[in-house]
């Protein structure tokens, strides 16, 4: 257990379970106060919050549909009242469907764009102004490597998240003089014991990963700690893949 985030409040979206949960716990382990956001997973959020409390860290849960600016603004107010100003935001929440574009109904793609792209815009619009006032802050977004490479079965969420990458770069330029770092972490396929694929398919997928395994939530937490820490204060506007070598871009 470290103390690099002592006294810092970190908001993790979609933190009730899976990757978001792992990131929230890792930040709590570094002494951070956790604002734990969830949308539908109230029960899981409470369980995760209890785990964080047991680590001796302060935590509170906040429900919001991040696709709604009004919801995000309400959440912001509630967090500031309960936990004080937010030092870091980790945009982890997302929503994607796995299917061919031509299997979508007209406008069925809207929700993915609303959550994956507009969600990040809503968070930035709401949370970054107080970071500017504080003259410091970390705004981090998680995307999938599909946003960088394309993926025929993730066509809409990949497009939305590529938009996020561009947004993050422009935002980094906008708020650099206020000492706010804005970076994007791009993930390969993370195995959280809920991949609904057979063993043959699993082996086939793993073949595409030079490190010969899929990712696990623990592979991501170190990068998050690094990007939240002062060790990364000169890093901004970057996209960094954690993907076992699946793609190597730029």
């Amino acid at each position: 257990m470290g103390n690099s985030l002592n006294g810092r409040t970190i908001l993790v979206t979609g933190a009730a379970n899976r990757i978001g949960k792992a990131i929230a716990i890792a930040a709590a382990n570094e002494g951070a106060t956790i604002a734990l956001h969830y949308n539908h997973s109230a029960e899981q959020a409470i369980i995760t919050a209890k785990e964080i409390e047991q680590l001796g860290s302060q935590v509170a849960c906040f429900q919001a549909n991040i696709a709604s600016l009004e919801d995000v603004q309400k959440m912001h107010k509630a967090i500031e009242e309960q936990l004080g100003s937010v030092f870091g935001v980790i945009n982890n929440a997302g929503y994607g469907q796995m299917k061919s574009f031509f299997d979508y109904e007209p406008n069925e793609w809207k929700q993915e764009i609303d959550v994956c792209l507009n969600g990040v815009l809503n968070l930035a619009y709401t949370f970054v102004p107080s970071m500017k006032e504080q003259q410091e802050g970390k705004f981090i977004t998680i995307v999938g490597d599909s946003a960088r490479t394309g993926d025929r079965k993730l066509i809409v969420s990949a497009a939305a998240r590529n938009g996020v990458i561009s947004f993050m770069k422009s935002l980094a330029q906008e708020v650099g003089r206020q000492h706010i770092q804005c970076n994007t972490v791009s993930l390969g396929l993370i195995d959280q014991d809920d991949l609904q694929i057979g063993e043959d398919m699993y082996r086939k997928i793993v073949k595409g990963y030079p490190l010969q395994r899929l990712g696990k939530p623990g592979d991501i937490t170190g990068m998050m700690q690094f990007l939240l820490s002062e060790q990364s204060d000169w890093i901004t506007g970057q996209v960094f893949s954690i993907n076992g070598g699946h793609s190597m871009l730029g």
Partner: protein, 248 residues
């Protein structure tokens, strides 16, 4: 991360010195290699003053035989090498059409062949140990180009491609190969360049969203992250540490 051994090239000054200091502060024994013995010894003294462990070795990365001797000396002292940081580099900034073939040769030898030489020599040791972390220092010029640095950017672009291919070949041996691409940094080399390019620092600072040059610590912290266990699933990647100057 304790009891690991890191071999760092060009560790006599600038970014390389800071990388050695930062890794040594994490209980990593550092092999401080450089062509300038006096500089290397000074880095070792600084590490020892801070309570760390370090050894200086002479290493001219442009010559495979010199690299082999340096590595042999290091291994005979410490038994193994867990981390390799290819930091040694050099540049002369001038318009390409004014540059001389002898300058190209020096730039390519130090910046690209130097990293090829150390990898060729040290990777077999890492494979034998079943463990290894390589961090190759490239440059933003190798990702986005940079006026006055045509051949340097070609060498650094070569480093990036070399990193990716090595990452693919070495993954089966559990060796991670990544690259840090620094933006302009406040180093002795940069001061040297400033002496014949008036106003370059001011112009760059204006273009950097964080409004300052990199300090060697900024780069060293990123190297420390990529050479740690926290980065075990990261390979073949390039991380720019540049205050937002370029966003690839």
């Amino acid at each position: 991360m304790t009891n690991k051994v890191a071999f760092i090239t060009g560790a006599g000054r600038g970014i390389g010195r800071q990388i050695a200091l930062t890794l040594a502060a994490k209980n990593i024994t550092t092999i401080v290699s450089d062509v300038n013995d006096a500089n290397a010894n000074e880095t070792v003294a600084l590490i020892e003053q801070a309570g760390g462990k370090a050894f200086a070795v002479y290493c001219d990365v442009t010559k495979l035989s010199s690299v082999e001797e340096a590595v042999q000396e290091a291994v005979s002292k410490l038994g193994r090498i867990d981390i390799l940081v290819n930091n040694a580099g050099w540049d002369k900034i001038e318009p390409f059409l004014k540059s001389e073939p002898s300058t190209w040769e020096a730039i390519l030898n130090i910046n690209l062949l130097g990293q090829i030489h150390t990898c060729k020599t040290i990777l077999p040791l890492m494979i034998e140990n079943g463990y290894g972390k390589i961090v190759n220092i490239s440059s933003d010029s190798g990702r986005v180009g940079s006026s006055g640095e045509a051949v340097y950017s070609a060498a650094k672009g070569g480093v990036i491609a070399f990193t990716k291919t090595l990452a693919r070949e070495m993954a089966r041996h559990k060796i991670n190969v990544n690259s840090i691409a620094p933006g302009p940094a406040d180093t002795p080399l940069f001061k040297e360049i400033g002496e014949y390019n008036a106003g370059i620092a001011e112009a760059l600072i204006k273009a950097i969203p964080f409004r300052r040059l990199a300090q060697p610590e900024d780069i060293a912290n990123a190297v420390a992250f990529l050479s740690s266990e926290e980065a075990n699933y990261i390979t073949g990647q390039v991380l720019s540490v540049n205050g937002g100057l370029a966003m690839v």
